[in-house]
Subunit: 342 residues, 2 copies
Amino acid sequence: MNIKKVNFNTSSTTFYFAAGIAHLKEFVDVQHAVMLVDEQVFNQHAKRFKGWKTIILKSGEQYKKQSTVDAIIKQLIELGADRKTILIGVGGGVATDVTGYIASIYMRGIKFGFIPATILGMVDASIGGKNGIDVGVYKNMVGTINQPSFILHDLALLNTLPEIEWQNGFAEIIKHACIKDAVMFRELEANSLKKYQSKKTLLCDLIQRNALIKTNVVIKDEFETGDRKLLNFGHTFGHAIENTYKLSHGYAVAVGMVMACMISEAYQGFKDTNRVVELIKKYGLPVHQSYNAKKVIDVMKADKKKVKDVISYVLLQKIGKAVVEPIAISEVENIITQLEAK
Amino acid sequence: MNIKKVNFNTSSTTFYFAAGIAHLKEFVDVQHAVMLVDEQVFNQHAKRFKGWKTIILKSGEQYKKQSTVDAIIKQLIELGADRKTILIGVGGGVATDVTGYIASIYMRGIKFGFIPATILGMVDASIGGKNGIDVGVYKNMVGTINQPSFILHDLALLNTLPEIEWQNGFAEIIKHACIKDAVMFRELEANSLKKYQSKKTLLCDLIQRNALIKTNVVIKDEFETGDRKLLNFGHTFGHAIENTYKLSHGYAVAVGMVMACMISEAYQGFKDTNRVVELIKKYGLPVHQSYNAKKVIDVMKADKKKVKDVISYVLLQKIGKAVVEPIAISEVENIITQLEAK
């Protein structure tokens, strides 16, 4: 186990890397804890949750919505959860987003921690305090920013992870490489998903490295006034197609990164779109999705990153170096309409 | 107009006392504002809201619930509200609680301000950053603590205030006197509701004084680990009967204060229950409500102020001096069951 405590503006989070759920009892009082566990994770690892109060969360982004929140709050009341209760979210990004959100509003805020059970969760979704739910096709339209007390990684949970979830996780790893780490980009080019799956130490190192890339960006800019926006690379277009075309998050971001690279060529003279496309393909992710430009633009117009008629688009100058470029929504509309036919 | 800026832990609120809605344009950009206005206030003062984007809120505690939040969020998306939008809640405690809550979760948090349109709102509900909604009979079960950017008092809005709402507001004023201000308690004994209604300067002074009593308690203890709990005087029992017996908030608190006085006699040797009872009666408020002890205890068991099996009960040592006494829920149950028959 590798313990690392990081400080945010008004709170701190302790990481327990390369740990196990069994370690949890060393720092959480079982009597005061309620676990919100993703259904698939619970079914595949039921033994690990013995002795803990658990509420089962249905798996999938379609359950990241208000009716799920309503149902869980009802269960928390029935369980007698009070202000001393700590909620522990176990699962992918949906489980941790929903847990963080409920803990932030239940009785005006109680403590919470995360045990991410996917690559995506470990390197991205569990980190940074953003939580929330979708409203219709609008992703994360409602939520808060509130840091978990702890994040514990149990790599044994990855043993049952489906291939598509490995791919989803690597979409965010590739994103981190694109915006912040050219060395890691080359490492990803030299390796493969199979290699990371078979070499646990290599994987463990990659996960911890990516968790800390995201953490460091967030620490510098918790409330997303500057550098944190870079983490949205691939996400503007990605979010606009994710729910509309029922893509997994990583798939949508992969397509979004390719779109952002093409826009980067025009606005920033970016020259390595092809390397990004090849790397995305190498990790089993899609580089294209047919779409209806009008539908996509309608969702983009409601994107949280849009302020009035301008979108803060994250573009690449080169691999490892990203910038935020304000682009008028009308221009984005032109680009997306032109590319629709291709 | 009397401007006063107060600082909380991580934010500040500017009070505009003795002001008017017409002043709003001096510090709020109309283009970026959406007003959430209580239906009765809007109907009675429609002219004042001309030129502002408005969403109408149905009047009454029964609308302080998730389905109202869902409907407003949908309207905000349709209006194109983004992260630069400021929400302005206009009305009583329900309007400001709902507005503060929605602003705290919409797009993970946008700015908000309040124009309380009731005495209760001006002296209590709009102040301190607590917001939220009820879940079934459980009051404020869901919410956040988040301070408004501004609070503006327009006493002209009180011209149409129904008598019961004057009484509701004075319940909290009497509460402030009981826990913090023996001088004001005597002033209230010497005056009457009619006198305050007819003498605007007397009323203006009383409202500002009470707004600052509450503000000062909150500043010292924003997240309610100590002194802020005193503001719950009359509220433990009050909240337990409010929704169950469909009482107005002030009526429930008035009955709750009498209950707290009786418990104070036993636990703190308090001797002035009769003076509190007489003052409550003088301002048109009830001092008794028939109840079913089992029902009341069930709601109390889910009260946010309960931690495990102990309730932090706010009791009086004397008029103007309150203390928090931890009482086992089983003892509270005994007392309430004994008093049920009386």
